[in-house]
């Protein structure tokens, strides 16, 4: 019997209609450093959340230390010896390190009182034992990102777990701290006899320290490899899969005027501790589909926010139709024929409790009213024609929440395209959609291109980017690492290497030529 065995785990998110895990099995040996890699939405995090008891699978069994475990909460999991470090910090900045660490498992004196002194003592002992350099009494808000990461790990070490799950814990770490962090994890395995399951995108580091690597793709575990016998190229290929061709008819168009230009955009997070976008410059021409891709947490979402005017950049310029935007007024831009299909179609793209009818007219409601009163006939005609044109299945008065993902996206698309845009931002336009709906969206995007609309496509779906875009930019840690015109020479594996940070065209000085010959 193995140490941990997850058998045929299936997880369906019914609300989203998404098959997150499809009959996935995972085996981990005792005292192993097991890495899980995969593209975005491959199901890695979901699988780990199930193991930690945060999510319940629809089917499958879990065996831990020769015993089947089921129906357990994260509290039970830590009692069993399973701990998890999440992708994003789960810390209370105003609390001390000790308080953050013991939260949920507080030492108690006199039956009811929280023993602060003992908490600090025990946590300090734990810190010293594992060789961290922290003071248990310090407030978390004064720590660096790397130190916060250590607190997260202390949280599970304090609970004396022997199986540590780490969900992309290095994403937020500054590059120079990554190495130290990994060697510390290695020590946990070698000296403390812990077992680690590690989700990561950092292939180079993981190759050196992991024992085995499980590769996941689109909700399936597709390969388990020995870290010693594999290489980066093989892993990248397995992760991205074979290219999926759409056979879309793409006409040749010569890009004309620049519609949108981002110049040296920088964005820092609220605490100004880390850089989310680092000097990103992008141009979008008329009749061009400019693609931006990257793995999650590398700046795609932030770029979306900046371009759509939701978050002002910390520094840098945005030029729209060659005029500099000082204050990004979204309403004004919308009048200037900007259209936006957001990645989050539920929260940002639509009002799910409102009807299809209302969602369709919301952005141009003024055009339907005279003297402040709606012309209902006019609206009805407009709505009915859009529903027909985009073949939206659903009655015009039914709330958007009752529709499938594909139909919600069609409603958003219908609304956004009805303003005759000359610039449109698409963010993850086919995320979680079935093939037919995706195809419909792609055809619409190409139609827009033919109409000489400038299109910015921000997507983590590589197939989408490679098949549709005229130019491709890859972001890694908020930095542009690749920017070229799309051509046959560009392969998925190649893009994959840039996404994973294995290559960077803009880093060293000897790459100056590439930088100058940018589109």
């Amino acid at each position: 019997m193995s140490y941990l065995r997850m058998e045929s785990i299936t997880k369906i998110y019914e609300k989203k209609g998404l098959l997150a895990l499809d009959d996935v099995s995972l085996e981990v040996k005792e005292n192993e450093f097991h890495a899980i890699i995969g593209e975005n939405a491959a199901g890695k995090s979901t699988l780990m959340k199930i193991l930690y008891g945060l999510e319940k699978p629809q089917a499958g069994r879990i065996f831990f230390k020769n015993r089947e475990i089921k129906n357990y909460t994260p509290m039970d999991a830590s009692r069993l010896g399973i701990g998890m470090v999440h992708q994003h910090f789960k810390l209370v900045p105003d609390f001390s390190i000790a308080e953050n660490v013991v939260l949920g498992a507080e030492p108690v004196k006199g039956g009811i009182f929280f023993d602060k002194k003992k908490a600090i003592e025990e946590v300090q002992q734990c810190i010293d034992h594992y060789g961290f350099h922290l003071h248990a009494g310090d407030k978390v808000k004064h720590l660096t990102v790397g130190q916060m990461q250590q607190v997260e790990i202390l949280k599970i070490l304090y609970r004396k777990v022997d199986l540590l799950i780490l969900d992309e814990p290095a994403v937020l770490l500054p590059e120079q701290e990554v190495h130290t962090f990994f060697s510390r994890l290695k020590e946990l395995q070698e000296k403390e006899g812990k077992t680690l399951i590690f989700i990561t995108h950092k292939l180079r580091e993981i190759m050196q320290i992991a024992s085995r690597i499980t590769v996941m793709r689109k909700g399936k575990a597709i390969a388990v490899l020995d870290a010693k016998t594999t290489n980066e190229e093989e892993l990248t290929k397995l992760m991205v899969g074979t290219p999926f061709l759409f056979y879309l008819k793409k006409e040749k168009i010569d890009p004309a005027n620049v519609i949108l230009e981002l110049k040296d955009i920088c964005l820092y997070d609220r605490t100004r501790k880390y850089c989310l976008l680092d000097n990103v410059s992008i141009k979008v021409h008329e009749g061009e589909i400019a693609g931006v891709t990257g793995l999650s947490g590398n700046g795609l979402a932030e770029l979306e926010d900046v371009v759509a005017g939701i978050r002002p950049p910390t520094s840098g310029q945005i030029l729209y139709n060659n005029t500099l935007l000082k204050k990004f007024d979204i309403a004004e831009l919308r009048q200037g024929r900007l259209a936006y299909v957001p990645a989050d179609r539920i929260k940002r793209g639509s009002s799910t409790r409102s009807s299809i009818h209302s969602n369709l007219i919301i952005s141009r409601r003024h055009t339907f009213s005279s003297f402040g009163v709606f012309n209902m006939e006019h609206i009805d005609r407009f709505v009915t024609s859009l529903i027909k044109e985009y073949s939206i299945t659903g009655h015009k008065n039914s709330p958007v929440a009752t529709l499938s993902g594909g139909n919600i996206q069609k409603v958003i698309l219908a609304r956004e395209l009805s303003v005759n845009p000359n610039f449109i931002i698409f963010c993850e336009p086919t995320w979680g959609l079935d093939v037919a709906s995706s195809r419909f969206i792609y055809e619409e995007i190409l139609k827009l291109r033919k109409k000489m609309v400038a299109i910015l496509l921000i997507s983590s779906d590589m197939d989408e980017i490679m098949n549709l875009c005229d130019s491709i930019v890859v972001l890694y840690r908020g930095k542009k690492v690749f920017a070229q015109k799309n051509s046959r020479e560009i392969t998925k594996t190649m893009i994959g290497e840039y996404m994973l940070g294995l290559k960077d065209d803009f880093n060293s000085e000897n790459n100056q030529e590439t930088k100058d010959s940018l589109p």
Binding site: M75, K90, L91, F95, E106
Partner: protein, 307 residues
């Protein structure tokens, strides 16, 4: 002129006046710390005021009256909690509903049972005893300000003391504060933020019931809208007190002094009575403005932005 003759009774009165605000604010603090703005303090106090005196009359026993009255206010609070957290209603709407329900229901009940929509006065009801502290009362200044109050006053101090312990010295308090600061942390531990928010509402039901009981029992009568905005002032006290129990004690005392002054001024200076009655509320507004200015210049984020 001898200042102590004027100022000591004024302070003594302030200690008395601040008590219902302090009680409500103490409970409100618990909801506030879980990240929930409890606007129902006013309504919960009104429920407490009404039922404490009604049950005191019905049972002829002051203690039983308070116990039952406070129980009713906890029940109303728990109903509000269930609707908000179990049935996922908007806390602002349920809070508003609780306030409207309290003011409507107390009048309705009083007209149905006692046949009056106005002031409820009872003959021969038990009086709130004043506690004299023997030798403590003879200490100059201290004795004159802090002794000779009814037991609610001392209870409110004990509760503030207990609140300090509960909030800062127990695992419960730690989790309660974590819920308000970052509920995701609690979720990730497999605990439910909802539970702590519910406890917060229950505790505010308890202390608001006491605060209300103080108002009606001290007056020996129930007057419609007897709370007169004290629940709202309690909310202000929570913010002025920077969401700490000791801060709340200070804030309530300052607001108490303001009201106490307004009562004294009425007898001394000839200014319009309307203004005098509005004085505590004006003080509240001024205090809030001063507080927010203070907060603005002392918050690290603003300093960083300028630097």
């Amino acid at each position: 002129m001898n200042y102590s003759e004027f100022s000591l009774p004024l302070l003594h009165n302030a200690v008395d006046i601040m008590t219902p605000v302090l009680l409500a604010a103490t409970g409100g603090l618990f909801t506030e710390l879980t990240g929930v703005l409890n606007i129902a303090l006013e309504g919960l106090m009104l429920i407490g005021a009404f039922f404490c005196i009604v049950f005191a009359i019905a049972t002829g026993n002051l203690f039983l009256g308070i116990l039952l009255g406070v129980t009713v206010s906890i029940l109303v609070a728990s109903l509000m909690g269930v609707i908000t957290f179990k049935l996922k209603a908007n806390i602002f709407i349920t809070g508003l509903a609780t306030n409207l329900f309290a003011s409507g229901f107390t009048v309705f009940f009083s007209s149905q049972v006692f046949g009056t929509k106005g002031v409820l006065r009872f003959a021969g009801q038990p009086l709130l005893p004043r506690l004299d502290h023997g030798f403590l009362g003879s200490i100059p200044v201290f004795g004159e300000v802090f002794t000779g109050h009814n037991f609610f006053v001392y209870l409110s101090w004990i509760l503030i003391f207990l609140a300090v312990f509960l909030i800062y010295r127990t695992p419960f308090g730690l989790r309660l504060r974590a819920t308000g600061k970052n509920p995701e942390v609690i979720c990730a531990l497999g605990l439910k933020p909802m539970h702590y928010r519910f406890y917060g509402i229950l505790i505010s039901g308890f202390t608001c019931g006491l605060g209300g009981g103080f108002l009606s029992l001290r007056l020996n009568a129930f007057v419609p809208e007897i709370t007169a905005g004290r629940g709202w002032i309690a909310l202000v006290a929570i913010y002025l007190g920077n969401k700490t129990p000791v801060g709340i004690l200070g804030a309530a005392f300052i607001l108490g002094i303001a009201e106490s002054i307004s009562i004294y001024i009425q007898g001394i200076i000839n200014i319009p009575a309307d203004f005098v009655l509005a004085f505590p509320y004006i003080m509240t507004v001024i205090a809030l403005i001063v507080y927010s200015i203070f907060k603005y210049y002392h918050s690290p984020e603003n300093n960083k932005g300028e630097g």
